[in-house]
Assembly symmetry: C2
Homo-oligomer: 263 residues x 2
C-alpha cells in the first residue's frame, strides 16, 4: 500500500514534506536504536514502508546512512559533516591540550560541554582505563544536574536561567537539586567560587567539578570538567586546576577568533 507523498498540485508543500520525511528517518536513530531494519525505521518514523525504502536508498547512496546486511546505521558522511561546524571545532581545538593536561594529572574522565536548550552536549570526552563514567562525545544530559551545566548557567543571563527553571528541574538522582530557590542559591555559589560541583546529582556515585570557558564579553561558551567515582575523586582539591585550565582555554579561544563578530 502506497500513501501519497503530499497534497497533489501543491509542489511547495510537497517538497517540504519530502525533506521532513527524510529528516524523520534520521530522527529514528539514537543511542538505543543505532542499527535499525527498514521496518523499524518505518514504524518509528510513522511513514509507509515504500516511502522509507525509497528515501533510505537515496540516503545510503549519499553516505548519510550505511547498510549492514538487513540493518541500517548512521553513515560516516554524517560524522564528517558534524565535525565541520567552526564554532565547535574551535572550542575543541582550544580545549584539547589543557584537557590532556587535566587527564594526565588526574587519570579521570575529562569533558568539554556546551549548553543546548535544557541539556549539556558533550563536544569531547577523554578518558583512560579507569573510566566507568557513562558519558560519551556527542551525548547529552540535563544541564541542571551536571557540573558542566551549572558552570555555564551560573555565568549566563538570568533569562537563560529562568527559562531552564521554568521548564522544570527533573531529578536524576535523589541528590539532584530540583527546588528552584535551592538551584538559584547553588548558581550563586558557583559564581562566587568560579567552579561548579556535581555531588552525585547526575549519576549515583559520580562526583564532578567544572569551570566555565568565557568569551571576550565574559559570556560562557562552554565548560570543562573532571569526573570520577566520588570515593576516589576529591573535587575540592581539583577546583584550582579546573579554574586554571578554563582560564587558559578561554584565553586560547579568544586568540583563535580574531574578530568579535566571528563567533
Amino acid at each position: 500500500v502506497r500513501t501519497p507523498d503530499g497534497p497533489a498540485g501543491d509542489q511547495k508543500q510537497d517538497a517540504k514534506s519530502v525533506l521532513s520525511r527524510a529528516l524523520r528517518i534520521f530522527d529514528t536513530f539514537d543511542d538505543n536504536h543505532s542499527e535499525l531494519r527498514l521496518s523499524d525505521i518505518a514504524r518509528r518514523a510513522e511513514l509507509p514502508l515504500s516511502t522509507v525504502h525509497r528515501l533510505v536508498g537515496e540516503l545510503v547512496a549519499w553516505g548519510g546512512l550505511e547498510r549492514t546486511r538487513d540493518h541500517y546505521r548512521v553513515g560516516l558522511r554524517i560524522f564528517e559533516l558534524g565535525t565541520i561546524a567552526p564554532s565547535w571545532e574551535q572550542r575543541r581545538n582550544a580545549a584539547l591540550p589543557y584537557m590532556q593536561d587535566l587527564y594526565e594529572a588526574t587519570h579521570e574522565s575529562v569533558h568539554l560541554g556546551v549548553l543546548d536548550g535544557p541539556d549539556i552536549v558533550y563536544l569531547l570526552k577523554i578518558s583512560g582505563h579507569q573510566s566507568r563514567v557513562p558519558t560519551r562525545t556527542g551525548g547529552r544530559r540535563p544541564a541542571h544536574c551536571t557540573s558542566l551545566g551549572k558552570a555555564i548557567l551560573a555565568f549566563s543571563s538570568r533569562a537563560v536561567q529562568d527559562d531552564l527553571v521554568e521548564k522544570g528541574l527533573e531529578a536524576q538522582t535523589e541528590r539532584s537539586i530540583i527546588r528552584p530557590s535551592a538551584f538559584y542559591e547553588d548558581l550563586a555559589l558557583v559564581r562566587e567560587r568560579g567552579v561548579a560541583y556535581d555531588n552525585q546529582e547526575s549519576v549515583p556515585g559520580l562526583a564532578c567539578v567544572a569551570a566555565p570557558i568565557l568569551d571576550r564579553d565574559a559570556l560562557p561558551v562552554a565548560a570543562v570538567s573532571v569526573s570520577g567515582p566520588h570515593v576516589r575523586v576529591n573535587t575540592q582539591a581539583l577546583a584550582p586546576a579546573l579554574r586554571a585550565a578554563a582560564l587558559a582555554i578561554s584565553r586560547n579561544l579568544a586568540n583563535a577568533s580574531p574578530t568579535r563578530t566571528a563567533r
Copy 2:
C-alpha cells in the same frame, strides 16, 4: 524567478530530487567553507536561491544547519547524529584509553583512522600543546601517503589494494610513494614488520608510525598512529609501542562486539 522542483506529474521523481537538493546543500559545506551565505550555498549547490531559501529554512528548524547573522553553518544535531554510528563509536571507545597511554608516553599527536574509499578518515585525534600536526577529528587524507592508510591497506585484500592503486597514487610531497611497484613493496614490508611508516610522505617535515587494528577474522578495521616533527619523533623506537597498543585495542574491540554478525 522560481524553477520547478522536478518533472510535473512524476511524484516519485520529484520526491527524490527534493531530497537530493537538500543533500547537495549539506555538500556545499567543507573545511574551507564552514560558514556560508544563502547566495554562496545556492551558487555552490547550483540551485535557485528560492529553493535554497526554503530548504535551508527547514534544515535550520530541524537543527541540521544553524544561522549566525547572515551566515549558515552545520548544526549541533548533525554532530550528535554523527556520533551514534555504532561501529565508529565502538572503535573509538576501544581505542581511547590506549591512545591516552601513547599520548602520555610521547606527548605527540595520536590518531585513530579508518579507510573510506581512497582516503583515511580520522575517527579521533588527541594531541597536546606541542602538536602542530595539520589533521583533525573528522578530517580525511589520501590513504596511500599516510602511515594509517598503509597499515590498513597492507592487511587488506589484494582487491582493495589494486582498486586504490588503479585510481592513481597522487603525490602529496616529493617523498610520497606513487610508483605502483614501490607501493606494493612498501605494503609487503608493512606486513612483515607489523607497522607502517610515513617519512614525510603526506606532509613535509612530518613523521608517523601506525599499526593496524584487526578484527577476529584478522581483517583491518582501523589503525592507530603517532605523528610529530621528523626531527623530534623517532618512529622506529615507537614501533613496539604502536604494535602493543594496536594488539590491545584489537582485543578490546573483539570483547566489545559479542557476536561475529554484529559488526
